[in-house]
Amino acid sequence: MISITGLRKNFQSGDHDVAALGGIDLEIGKGEFFVLLGPSGSGKTTLLRSVAGLEKPDSGEISLNGKIVFSSSRRISEPPEARAIGMVFQSYAIWPHLTVAENIGLVLTHGRLRLNKSEAQARIRHALSLVQLDDFENRPARLLSGGQQQRVALARALAVNPALLLMDEPLSNLDARLREEVRANIKKLVSQLGITVLYVTHDQVEAMVLADRIAVMAHGEILQIGNPFELYRAPANSLVAEFFGSINWLRGRMLDGGRVETEIGTLVIAAPWQYEGNVILGVRPEDVKLAQTSAETENRLEGTVLATTFLGDQVTIEVKIKDKSLIVKALPDDAKPVGEVSVQLPKEKIVVFPETVAERSLDYK
């Protein structure tokens, strides 16, 4: 559906160039919900806008549905209106001088489809019913609430029957409760319609809820592509691991036989690693088990409880082992340990990276 190769784009920042896109390669399949995830300045929006034709990359190639829409070598750069896409903007970009129906009608009658009035009318109705705004047709758009504007923007983007739907942080301007509701609706709607979606967000929860696959981006590079489970359980490097929730990092040195000597003691890891030298180990707080709840003796360590924080659905416990403090998440009815405690680190939940990579993960691909 979308095929991107070697896409580069530099921005002038002061007197030096900054790579917004540092040679992106990406394949997205038909009907896939694909999320670009990354912090601000990671290049995700630039990538999305390049696909839309709103940004002109310096080099590379983009094809949509088998048709090349941008190619620096062939000097092709189709304008946005020639690409069969629908788009939801972060600010929604609802035209304030038109009514709700006119907002959708304008793209139907004067956009790619050039429908006549009555055909357009039927489509407007249908699009509005998809987002449950049936009675809003004649409402002036500037009088809508943020959530309603968001839905009109989605209806407008869907009304043109796009092969590809682009969404640029469409939920970031909604409040937390509304966001969850709209998120669920979007997921249901696009899976019903079976359209391909390219979605930009900086919120990893949003990405995990919505995505079939996620590309994690930083500094204009894609760090890893995978489904949410893979990214959470098998991050390619420490940056990806940190982006998906909190994690305890331990420094260590590889010994033979899958053992690592770390600052809190010698630990056994699952994957047999043929590596000599310093490594960094990561283990997520919810994967660390308090000894009371585990009979396992492997990777069992003794420590002291420093602090306990009650968060309602869970308890966070800070355990000091040797000079290192480890965060442990437990269920609230696991009791609140005080004083001496023993914890256990399941070996299959420990991720390991060479230390150089962990520290300079951006140089690694």
Binding site: P80, Q90, S91, A157, V160
Partner: protein, 561 residues
């Protein structure tokens, strides 16, 4: 204390307005006992020339709106929304354009399009074998054309601001969903910028209504009067006695009209702000790619604009200044070229005028800034119950035609303050009126900057034990400095080109200013000498313009409109 200073600065504004209204019911000459009468209003409404003047004024102002928008809207669109090359140059040229005195370009256009001497007319008559001149600058269309060219700079700056406050995603949404460049322009960009353009049109129209220089230079000698020249003529008639009562009556009507228009302007502006969305997103909007051909067309348009609006009148003035009697360029004419006009200028008077102008340049901006700092502080920081009143009064000098402010001052100095405080014909009266006329501009600049400074910055200093004056000196002034420097320079430059107010305030050699000398030569019929004097004035102005370009920031200007 700041409140006291604000009151001191704003009292004359209110007083001048009241004087204008009062003048309209007043009859007699200095020293006579005061007689109140409705005579002036009766005469005014009975006289056919009133209605002719009204029609003239409306025709003149409308033409100038059409002309200025014709050049400003496409130029603003090119600069803000396309990839046309040379944007900084366009900005610089347009901003400098706003500083070129209108009396300067007016004279240039007389040399171009006057039915008898205008070189374009002569050329076309020779070439096409015409009996009469095809163009006449001394007409409403001609005057509106010149005024419109002059005001196109301000229109441009206002319309650029409209484009800037519009969320570019609104246009991108149209492009992405299949609307091409022209449909996007037609269905999204134009309707969305319409309120902003309308506001600019009303603003320009208001200026056109009370514009003085073009009607004074082109219209008056050909007996085409607009309200401003009509009022001027009542005060300085050639045969009869001055009629302040009549001037007051006309002025009162004009003030009411101008206030209504300003109200309309703010209504429209508020409506246009409804469309303004602050996205907070740092990306630059996608610019329309014009391509090589488009660039060529765009620069052809821009080139014509700059040549017509600035270069052509300028060249004509240079040419005229070198000739004894004006004639179109030819080999025969070239032999007569000399610097005699420059040698023959009244240099003593010019130097005296330059000295006065420099004093004004230093005094007016400084005084205005001191007053306006106090006013802005009162409006935004004092928490006073009446603070919004201060804001409204500070806006009045913008709405009220400057010529009328000047007339009120002359009237006050002649009839009310004559024995108390002799101001008539002094430089002080110029300083006072110029300062008052700039209050709206400066308060809005300072208001905008002060609003961006968080009050906690001052509160932190108060809590730290600094007294108010120290807070002003150590915290506010440094933070406001860029805006203050900019406003100071801009107002200083406006002093250089000010003719409207000077035309009634300058009554002696003692308080003569440079533009008045040029105008005097022009009215006296020595057009070529006036051209030479004009160039000398521009030369005096040049160092200040360079300073302005060096320190000035173009963005500040857009805030003040």
């Amino acid at each position: 204390m700041f409140v006291a200073v604000s009151v001191a600065g704003l009292t004359p504004v209110v007083a001048f307005l009241l004087i204008v209204f009062w003048m309209g019911f007043w009859q007699g000459s200095p020293g006579d006992p005061v007689v109140y009468t409705l005579k002036h209003y009766r005469e005014l409404f009975a006289d056919a020339s009133t209605y002719r003047t009204l029609l003239n004024t409306l025709g003149f102002a409308s033409t100038s709106v059409v002309v200025s928008l014709f050049f400003a809207v496409p130029t603003a669109w090119l600069v803000e929304r396309t990839d046309v090359p040379g944007k900084n140059l366009i900005f610089a040229l347009v901003t400098i354009g706003a500083l070129v005195p209108t009396f300067f370009t007016s004279m240039g256009w007389v040399f171009l399009l006057h039915p008898r001497i205008g070189i374009i007319n002569k050329f076309l008559m020779d070439w096409l074998d015409l009996e009469t001149a095809p163009f006449n600058i001394a007409s409403l269309a001609g005057m509106g054309w010149v005024e419109g060219l002059g005001l196109s700079s301000i229109a441009f700056i206002m319309i650029v601001a409209t484009y800037r406050t519009m969320d570019p995603a609104l246009e991108e949404a149209a492009r992405v969903h299949g609307l091409g460049i022209f449909r996007t322009l037609r269905y999204v960009t134009l309707p969305l910028t319409f309120p902003g353009i309308l506001a600019a049109a009303i603003y320009i129209f208001t200026i056109g209504l009370s514009a003085f220089e073009v009607p004074a230079i082109i219209g008056m000698s050909n007996k085409i009067f607009t309200f401003s020249t009509f009022i001027f003529y009542k005060i300085q008639p050639q045969e009869e006695l001055p009629s302040y009562g009549m001037a007051g009556a006309v002025s009162s009507l004009l003030v009411v009209l101008a206030l209504l228009l300003s109200w309309g302007y703010f209504r429209t502006l508020r409506f246009s702000h409804r469309y303004a969305v602050v996205t907070g997103k740092g990306y630059r909007p996608r610019l329309v790619e014009l391509g090589k051909k488009g660039w060529l067309l765009a620069w052809l348009f821009l080139g014509c604009y700059f040549v017509v609006a600035k270069l052509l009148p300028f060249l004509l003035l240079i040419w005229a200044s070198l000739l004894r009697f004006f004639q179109p360029p030819s080999w025969a004419a070239l032999e007569q070229v000399s610097l005699k006009n420059f040698y023959g200028l009244p240099w003593n008077l010019l130097l005296h005028g330059a000295w006065n102008t420099v004093l004004l340049m230093l005094a007016v901006p400084t005084l205005t800034l001191i007053l306006c700092l106090a006013i802005s502080w009162t409006v935004l920081r004092s928490g006073l119950k009446w603070r919004l009143m201060f804001d409204a009064v500070a806006f009045l000098p913008h709405a009220v035609p400057h010529l009328i402010l000047a007339i009120a001052a002359v009237f006050a100095s002649l009839f009310l303050l004559r024995n108390v405080f002799p101001l008539y014909g002094s430089l002080t009266i110029l300083i006072i009126v110029y300062t008052i006329s700039r209050i709206s501009f400066a308060t809005r600049i300072i208001n905008n900057s002060l609003a961006q400074i968080h009050p906690e910055l001052e509160e932190a200093a108060f809590v730290g034990g600094l007294p108010l004056l120290q807070v002003m000196r150590k915290i506010l002034l440094p933070l406001l400095k860029p805006a203050l420097v900019y406003a100071w320079l801009w107002m200083a430059l406006l002093c250089f080109r000010e003719l409207t107010m000077a035309s009634v305030l300058v009554t002696s050699q003692g308080n003569v200013t440079l533009p008045m000398i040029v105008w005097g030569l022009w009215l006296g019929g020595s057009l070529n000498q006036a051209a030479a004097a004009n160039l000398v004035v521009l030369a005096f102005m040049l160092p200040a313009v360079i300073l302005y370009l060096y320190f000035g920031r173009r963005s500040r200007f857009t805030e003040a409109l």
